[in-house]
């Protein structure tokens, strides 16, 4: 296709900054990272396979992210459809409030989880009153799950709401006229129409959870997720080789999941995310 908007040399000139940024901040560090990871005769990757700690943290990160994605999608689907479909007082305020967590850094989210489920937390206080036992799960997988869910849901809801608003109400009416029950309409009409948005939101949610650091840094004192493992190798152990290998594996796994989601959606989910 011929782009007739600007002369060729203009286009080249305008492209140059983007190209420079790409080279300087993406390609160079990436190749450096790759080079470090294979230095020392591939010891970094060997450590990854032989040291169960790394594998465990990779596995728990993937499982946690997948779980967060699934639950966030389910909750956001129900909430998003309700918000789009039904007019009720306070609807606009609620939607505005939904976007608030987007502004919080991961550390703040972690802090909020501690206030909720930490040793002096709200849940602990309530359970102490009821059962005499102080329930604390802020520093476990459950706490991480809660924190990740908290910062994932707004993004997912907003993506799904944008898609749901574009749904043609006549499609549902047509299905109703053909005798479809509300459940069949969701399955046969609404979900297929929202499928691209679900995949895009899911991919975005998964990628964010895989790489989340701030929340993990605040909460993951007893457990290891991959970004934390990279951090400790890098800063505490000064083990650059392993840190680089772990980084690349984290990137590769996330990229693979995005690519699979993209295949399933038939569109460019990674781009949409």
């Amino acid at each position: 296709m011929n782009d007739l908007t600007l002369p060729r040399h203009w286009r080249a000139a305008l492209l140059a900054p983007a190209l420079t940024v790409f080279l300087a901040f993406w390609l160079l560090p990436m190749s450096r990272l790759a080079a470090i990871s294979v230095s020392a005769g591939g010891a970094g990757y060997r450590a990854l396979i032989t040291n169960p700690r790394y594998l465990e943290s990779l596995l728990s990160t993937v499982i946690l992210s997948a779980l967060v994605t699934a639950v966030a999608l389910a909750l956001a689907l129900v909430a998003g459809l309700a918000l789009v479909r039904h007019a009720f007082p306070g609807r606009r305020t609620l939607i505005a409030m939904l976007t608030l967590p987007l502004a919080f850094p991961g550390v703040v989210v972690g802090f909020m989880v501690i206030m909720l489920a930490g040793r002096q937390g709200l849940i602990g206080a309530i359970s102490r009153e009821l059962t005499g036992h102080n329930t604390v799960f802020a520093y476990s997988m459950a706490g991480l799950f809660l924190g990740y869910l908290y910062f994932s849901i707004p993004r997912v809801i907003l993506t799904l709401m944008a898609a749901a608003e574009k749904l043609d109400p006549a499609l549902e009416e047509a299905a109703r006229s053909l005798g479809a029950s509300p459940w069949r309409i969701q399955r046969d009409v609404v979900l297929p129409a929202l499928r691209p948005a679900l995949l895009a939101a899911g991919a975005m949610c998964f990628a964010t959870a895989m790489g989340a650091f701030g929340t993990a840094f605040t909460l993951a004192t007893e457990i290891d997720v991959l970004p934390m493992a990279i951090y400790s190798e890098f800063t505490l152990n000064a083990n650059l080789v392993v840190a680089a290998s772990l980084s690349l594996v984290l990137g590769a796994v996330t990229w693979l999941v995005l690519a699979l989601a993209g295949l399933g959606g038939g569109g460019n989910v990674a781009a949409a995310a």
Partner: protein
Amino acid sequence: MKLDSVPIRLERCAKTFPGAARPVLKPLDLDIAAGETVVLLGPSGCGKTTTLRLIAGLERPDAGGRVFFGAEDVSARPIEERQVGMVFQNYALFPHMNVRQNVAYGLSIRRLPPQQIARRVDELLALTRLDALAERQIAQLSGGQRQRVALARALAPQPRVLLLDEPLTALDAQLRESLRTEMNTLLRNLGVTTVYVTHDQAEAMALGDKIVVMSAGAIEQIGTPRDIYHQPANAVVASFIGTMNQLEGVWRDGALHCAGGRLIAAPGAQPRSRLWFRPEDVILTPSGGELHGVVESATFLGGHTRLSLSGVGAAPILVDAPGRTRYATGERIGFSLAAEVWHTPLPDTETTTC
């Protein structure tokens, strides 16, 4: 293929949308016989779609309004339980299903055996000439093809009532005309009670056993296309359907006198100071004639030429002349009016606009 059909009856059906100050439909009564095709005709925004949705069960009438299918009061039943087939204005085809899956959808809801579904879908695809397109995706269809898929999908579960909302409006003029003929044949063969919404009077004339002319949320007239055209109940109907001339004058000695001459009524005719007539009810008289006018403009339309005459009454009078005769502006023309003109029973008052 023949469908069982039911008569429809609307009783005092009004509709006020939540939060609106005024009702969009004033209480209306409507009787539709089994197997009849009724066209709801009126300008955009007059409440045609709302009426159709009341019949479908997508909207509920205001308190006091009731909808009957045959003897059954369906007022409280939602659309799922009314067994209606509906074709939406934008067709509302399921975009992720192909043609066959769209048509089969209503049957698969009813959990029919797969062979039976396949047989019935094939039958409908043949009926709507879509056999060759069965596996196509909706996005790959033209407007006319989509319209036929929507029709086939609505007919597949053998509805008791077929409801169509401006099904041809989105198509270009030529296609609209050929599909109109096709649809007419199909509806007659099916014998299903049909309510058809349109704002196109030619479509209404061609398809309707009866036409319901609506304006501003009320029914102005219900009648056969001939009734509506030749015996419009009021000025609103007359001005919406076709073209109607209005000739004012003074009644004296059994004749209507106006600037262009005088029209002698049949003996014993009611005195009146205003006449309504259509351009084609004019008889051009090369010599003489009861009335005279001067050609202001002549528009050649193929089959006929439409002349606008001044000097007959207060407003210009539109007249249809045979297409092969040429007319020059400024030419003086004599004409008389067909006898039916005296029967056009419009109230003898100022034209009311809607």
